[in-house]
């Protein structure tokens, strides 16, 4: 049952708090040396999953194994994992060096001083060894928390929203830093976050969690290009999702969907269902706007006409809102290639995108599922 190549395996793990199911029959295998992200909105069970791996919560059902060894009933202090806590949880009564040495001393390791110095060097805090946590900035404390965990060379390093308390600029910087450190030490990282950009920037593999279950798992680019549920489509980046009905399955492997009187093609392997009501989706940056008599290219889906109801220039791109009567409002991102917005507010346009970028998800789902404002996270 145990896979020797896996750093962490989770089999059918469920966690209930009273009548609330935080984690629901979760299966997950994380290969050795991977930077893995558990992504989801608050309350989706990602932190509970992490705490069960650390041993800080007991699963209601299921099994956990680390490097092929069953650890389900093992107390936290005997698990080969270390955690970087969201609050950092640095010991205020100990110096930075003593904080970092804490785990090594418990394991009675040798050459503690050297290893502590190396770990502090790795997070670029060599000169801070004799300070107290309260004398450090938030970003520095975060690095100490990382050094304190990494110095023990755990089989799996768990990071619980480690960048959540940092301001945006520092967060971006630490994302790169974390990735560098992970590559350098080669330890398996399991990173819990609600920030989809953070997950995509750093992780080799991402599991998107919702309501205690994994919605979809895979490489970031794969998840982005082919979301399998409305939740993933909306939570990971932005999506235009509209309702339609499958009207034909063509011999070339494409599915024809009727969307408000327009025929949209979805490749069968990109469609969750090939019959009945479906949701058809496309990413905003994949859409181009056709004005007046502009013709679409072959192989493109075309919708419209619609009216441009909003134009916002963001520098890198211009974001448009296009209301297509009978279908819905579409977001369109146009890269800023000419120095200004190319389509005026109120213009009538048609929307076109390559059929191979279209994806189809379950028609029973809510179009707005997963469109949470991630900045509202406490």
């Amino acid at each position: 049952m145990a896979d020797p190549g896996a750093a962490l395996e989770i089999w059918g793990v469920t966690k209930r708090f009273g009548s609330f199911t935080a984690v629901d029959d979760l299966d997950l295998t994380i290969p050795r040396g991977e930077f893995f992200a558990l992504l989801g909105p608050s309350g989706c069970g990602k932190t509970t999953t992490l705490r069960m791996v650390a041993g800080l919560e007991k699963p209601t059902a299921g099994l956990l194994s680390i490097e092929g060894r069953d650890v389900t009933g093992v107390p936290p202090h005997r698990r080969p994992v270390n955690t970087v806590f969201q609050s950092y949880a640095l010991f205020p009564h100990l110096t930075i060096a003593e904080n970092v040495a804490f785990g090594l001393r418990r394991k009675r390791e040798k050459e503690i001083d050297t290893r502590v110095a190396e770990a502090l060097e790795l997070v670029e805090l060599g000169g801070m060894a004799q300070r107290r946590p309260s004398q450090l900035s938030g970003g520095q404390q975060q690095r100490v928390a990382l050094a304190r965990a990494i110095v023990n060379r755990p089989a799996v390093l768990l990071l619980d929203e480690p960048l959540g308390a940092l301001d945006l600029k520092l967060r971006r910087q630490m994302q790169l830093e974390l990735k560098r450190i992970q590559t350098e030490v080669g330890i398996t990282f399991v990173h819990v976050t609600h920030d989809q950009e953070e997950a995509m920037t750093m992780a080799d593999g991402v599991a998107v969690m919702n309501k205690g279950r994994i919605e979809q798992m895979g490489a970031p680019e794969h998840l982005y290009e082919l979301p399998r549920t409305a939740f993933v489509a909306n939570f990971l980046g932005q999506s235009n999702l509209v309702r339609g009905n499958v009207v034909e399955v063509r011999s070339d492997g494409a599915v024809g969907v009727d969307v408000g009187g327009n025929r949209v093609l979805v490749r069968a392997d990109r469609a969750r269902d090939t019959e009945g009501a479906v949701l058809v989706g496309v990413r905003p940056e994949k859409i181009t706007m056709l004005v007046d008599g502009q013709e679409s290219s072959p192989g493109q889906n075309v919708l419209g006409p619609g009216v441009v109801t909003d134009v916002s220039f963001t520098g890198v791109s211009t974001q448009y809102q296009v209301d297509v009567p009978g279908v819905g409002v579409f977001g369109v991102f146009a890269q800023n290639l000419v120095g200004a917005a190319t389509v005026a507010l109120g213009a009538t346009v048609r929307l076109a995108w390559s059929a191979r970028f279209t994806f189809g998800v379950d028609g029973d789902e809510d179009v707005r599922e997963g469109t949470v404002d991630v900045d509202c996270e406490p």
């Binding site: 650390a54 041993g55 800080l56 107390p75 936290p76 202090h77 005997r78 994992v81 270390n82 955690t83 806590f85 609050s87 949880a89 640095l90 010991f91 205020p92 009564h93 804490f102 785990g103 418990r106 394991k107 309260s134 304190r148 965990a149 023990n152």
Partner: protein, 305 residues
């Protein structure tokens, strides 16, 4: 000051406000306290110091003394009463250790174990404070009854043969120390409870995550972080216990349990030997100040001051 830091809710790292805000505006706010302290502390201590050097008026009545600088009063006081002085500090030390041994687990249970049960927490805290609702003297007299020769405690101890035939509990050092421990226990529990209540449970999770067993977590995280409360509690217990005389009077005898407070009381109110009583008071005060400052220095809790 130290005790407030031990009890209060403030973090030890309080940043001083900017200079301009620390102008003289605070002075009027100090006035009531200053007046009070001058009237009821500085003046009495001054007169106590003066009185400690007085001499008996030649040919005067009982309790008639004249101003002088008789330093010999101090020498006499120490020579005559050093057993009681030493006993006071000995009893206070034992009572403090007993309070710590009994109080720390109680404070830990209330603050840490009952952390998620606010109702239980409040009930237990009320139980800790409840004795204050009745008079200190009354409760000490109650202890006298509990420990009395014909009481069930003594009977039980006789039956268990812990106490020898004819052995008793009242009028023994044991009874006095029991009384001290009982009366000052809440002063140990409350500061430790306050300290442990501020302890972030996530630090214990971090400890467990870093391979520390529950016991090591307690030793390396909980205990050091509760030290300000322990220091505050030991001071709040040992200082008044050293000067206490009610327990010695009510639960002790007059020979091998007499504490310095009892001697001062007798000198002042029975024998009317004011200079000796005053010099003993000064000695007690100076000794406590010295011991406390030594203790705080040893405890290494500069944050407390």
């Amino acid at each position: 000051m130290s005790l407030i830091a031990g009890l209060g809710g403030g973090a030890p790292t309080q940043v001083a406000p900017p200079r301009e805000n620390r102008s003289r505006a605070y002075r009027p706010l100090l006035a009531p306290g200053l007046v009070y302290l001058v009237l009821f502390f500085v003046v009495p201590v001054g007169s106590l110091l003066a009185m400690s050097l007085y001499v008996k008026t030649p040919g005067g009545d009982l309790g008639d003394y004249s101003p002088a600088f008789r330093w010999q009063n101090y020498v006499d006081a120490v020579v005559n009463f050093y057993p009681q002085i030493l006993r006071s500090f000995g009893f206070a030390a034992i009572a403090t250790v007993a309070c710590l041994a009994i109080g720390y687990p109680i404070a830990y249970a209330i603050a840490v174990r009952a952390r998620n049960l606010p109702l239980v927490q409040n009930m237990l805290l009320i139980l800790v404070v409840a004795p204050f609702f009745t008079s200190f003297i009354l409760r000490t007299i109650a202890w006298k009854m509990i420990l009395a020769d014909e009481g069930w405690v003594v009977a039980a101890l006789h039956w268990l043969q812990v106490l020898p035939e004819g052995g008793r509990l009242t009028a023994t050092p044991f009874a006095v120390i029991c009384g001290l421990t009982y009366n000052f226990l809440p002063f140990m529990i409350l500061p430790i409870y306050a300290g442990l209540g501020r302890l972030d449970p996530r630090l214990l999770e971090a400890g467990a995550d870093l391979y520390a067993t529950p016991f090591t977590c307690f030793r390396k995280v909980t205990l050091p972080l509760s030290m300000p409360g322990v220091v505050g509690g030991t001071l709040l217990v040992s200082i008044p216990a050293a000067g206490d005389y009610v327990n010695a009077v009510l639960l002790g005898n007059n020979t091998n349990t007499a504490m310095i407070g009892q001697v001062i009381d007798q000198r002042f109110f029975r024998i009317l030997d004011y200079p000796t009583a005053a010099s003993l008071s000064v000695i007690l005060m100076v000794a406590i100040l010295l011991l406390v400052s030594l203790y705080i220095r040893r405890a290494g809790t500069e944050d407390l001051l």
